[in-house]
């Protein structure tokens, strides 16, 4: 029973508006991800729910209760802080045991020993029990902090970038572990991250926060396939989505996207569903066309319907490479296989697949639509 509701929460730090009349509803037992760039207000939302920061205005509800005036301790939330917030003078064991020694959640020492052992096993820090936080690496500190959070059975877990300082392999492992644990615990979790793959893989729903306001709240598919605006589209996905100026045209009743390439314009007929919709709202206007790197095909010979460009950069990133193609007007990042080897400035032709184009309004960056939007976002 821990649905969390924020109503018109505002919070300023001096002249900086951290949260601007934010509304949010997190369902019971949901794994909810807050995602956004640094300084967006993610941590402030967590701390507001925890009760360690007070909103300037607005209501916080946990379950059916308005908790604005309820002591943080009595809200029964458990939080991982971004800077770990371990007790510097206590050993790892005592840090993890701390919640179970407080008057509110007191357990017998035998039970504490058992629980700490269980959690530290899970976190892979059993051998560090006798150390002080200052004797740990950042990754170990983070796991200790996570352990202290998970040792309880609270209404809500609040996790502020709990995996940010782990190395890649461990992060992946812990991600899986966290997800499994959350399913097992059946506890509402609010999870802050600035890593989009973490957001997509963990979140039942994702809220994208920017400058104290939500840009979009939706499932991973929704924010990936149908971002509400250019900001969200750019934030989700790696490499960053390519968004270029384009023109919406009517050629014999068919709606096409025209992209300039040097002197000429290459046309891409849109699929009927999106084409029809945009056609009805008027053609001949400027729009913005977004295409993700994975949806761009390329050839090293001239081909019909392909945009001419040249190789600008080739960056291997392990199991694949990012090939940057420069046209006269734009740079496009595409995914290439990592066995590709090519000289810089080699002429290349590329094909942005119209079935995967994300179209945005040129004036305000608002999402106009895409092919198969309903099917892809599960709202058919």
């Amino acid at each position: 029973m821990a649905q969390i509701t924020l109503e018109k929460i505002s919070k300023s730090f001096g002249s900086v508006k951290a949260l601007d009349a934010v509304d949010l509803e997190v369902k019971d037992k949901e794994f909810f991800v807050l995602f956004g760039p640094a300084g967006a207000g993610k941590t402030t939302i967590l701390k507001t729910i925890a009760g360690v920061e007070f909103p300037d205005s607005g209501l916080v509800r946990i379950g059916d209760r308005i908790v604005n005036l309820i002591d943080p301790a009595l809200r029964n939330v458990s939080m991982v802080f971004e800077n770990y917030a371990l007790y510097p003078h206590m050993k790892v064991y005592d840090n993890i045991a701390s919640p179970m020694r407080s008057p509110l959640h007191r357990k017998s020492e035998a039970e504490i020993a058992r629980e700490v052992a269980r959690v530290s096993d899970l976190m892979g820090i059993s051998q560090l029990m006798e150390r002080l936080p200052s004797q740990l690496s950042n990754g170990q500190r983070q796991r200790t902090a996570l352990g202290r959070c998970l040792v309880r059975r609270p209404n809500v877990f609040l996790m502020d970038e709990p995996l940010a300082h782990l190395d890649a392999k461990l992060r992946h492992l812990m991600r899986t572990e966290l997800k499994a644990m959350q399913t097992a615990f059946d506890t509402t979790t609010i999870y802050v991250t600035h890593d989009y793959s973490e957001a997509l893989s963990l979140g039942d729903r994702i809220a994208i926060l920017n400058r104290g306001k939500f840009e979009q709240i939706g499932t991973g598919d929704e924010v990936y396939y149908a971002p509400v605006n250019e900001f969200v589209a750019r934030l989700v996905g790696e490499p960053e989505i390519n968004i270029v100026d384009a023109e919406l045209q009517d050629v014999a009743g068919e709606c096409r996207v025209g992209i300039r390439a040097g002197a000429s314009i290459v046309h891409y007929p849109l699929p009927d569903d999106i084409g029809g919709k945009l056609h009805a709202s008027g053609v001949g206007r400027r729009i913005r066309m977004g295409i993700r790197g994975v949806n761009i095909a390329y050839k090293f010979e001239k081909a019909e319907g392909y945009l001419p460009g040249s190789v600008y950069n080739l960056e291997p990133i392990g199991n694949k490479s990012i090939l940057t193609i420069k046209t006269d007007e734009n740079l496009f990042q595409t995914i290439a296989s990592n066995d590709l080897s090519v000289e810089l400035d080699t002429p290349v032709w590329m094909y942005p697949d119209p079935k995967n184009m994300l179209l945005f309004d040129a004036a305000d960056g608002r999402f106009l639509g895409r092919h198969h939007q309903a099917q892809l976002t599960g709202r058919a």
Binding site: V52, F81, A85, P88
Partner: protein, 271 residues
């Protein structure tokens, strides 16, 4: 190899010179305390030791003065700790208007020479009845003890991230439990060293008690003057008074010297 012999030799020689320079006045004082008045000027190291001075001094109210000093200095430090810890916490944690001005104001209490403020304080104390009382001295001693304590502890509190306290709140602790279990252990080195240092400052204070007390209450620093009688100066007795007065400080300094420098220069351990 030559350097290996000469360098330590030189170092020890220098240290011995320094030790003599630093300790000789103390030694001189102790020696005088065992001399009779007649021998004070005439003998250097060869004299017939006597306990007469000690007898003479301890027959007076010396221990009362000693106790007065202990009460005043001890209570002054206790008050400073009781007020200074929350004050330092507030200066470290909260944002309020004029915060830095207030912090500077507190520090500036140490700037003015005591003689500058003591006359107005004397008149005020006469007027409100605090003249020549323990309470009055304890109060005015705050000028000596509080600024250092607040400034040292403020640094300690600033080094403790606010999230540590927030984590403790979420763990289910009340504010006073957070203070006792989390904050107090973290500020302990600073608290102990600054409290002991301020105790020594308070113990040595002369100007304030000289003007603001004198009959009912008299700390030993001022009382030592009594042995400068109008007709003769009893150097032997003065030496006794001074030597015994310095004793608690020497003991304290030896006890805390290891922690003193560390406690005042290090912040809380970050973690």
């Amino acid at each position: 190899m030559r350097r290996g012999i000469f360098e330590p030799a030189f170092r020890y020689a220098a240290l011995i010179v320094w030790a003599l320079f630093a300790l000789f006045p103390l030694l001189w004082m102790v020696i005088i305390s065992f001399k009779s008045d007649a021998e004070v000027f005439t003998t250097t190291f060869w004299f017939s030791p006597t306990l007469g001075n000690y007898e003479a001094v301890f027959k007076t109210d010396y221990f009362k003065y000693f106790l007065d000093n202990l009460i005043i200095s001890g209570c002054a430090v206790l008050v400073s700790v009781a007020v200074g810890v929350p004050a330092a916490y507030a200066l470290a944690r909260y944002q309020f208007r004029g915060k830095e001005d207030l912090a500077f104001q507190i520090l500036s209490f140490k700037f003015a020479p005591e003689i500058l403020v003591v006359l107005p304080v004397f008149m005020i104390f006469q007027w409100i009845g605090l003249y020549d009382t323990h309470l009055g001295l304890i109060w005015v001693y705050q000028l000596i003890t509080m600024p250092l304590l607040i400034w040292v502890l403020r640094g300690y509190f600033e080094d403790i991230s606010v999230e540590v306290e927030q984590a403790a709140m979420l763990d289910g602790y009340k504010w006073y439990q957070i203070f006792l279990r989390i904050l107090l252990p973290l500020i302990k080195p600073g608290l102990v060293s600054s409290a002991l240092l301020t105790f020594i400052f308070a113990w040595n204070t002369f100007t304030f008690p000289l003007i603001l007390a004198g009959f009912k209450v008299q700390p030993v620093t001022v009382a030592a003057l009594r042995y400068l009688a109008s007709d003769t100066v009893h150097y032997g007795q003065m030496a006794v008074a001074a030597a015994v007065t310095a004793l608690p400080e020497v003991v304290l300094a030896l006890l805390i010297q290891k922690h003193l420098v560390r406690g005042l220069s290090f912040g809380a351990v970050k973690g």
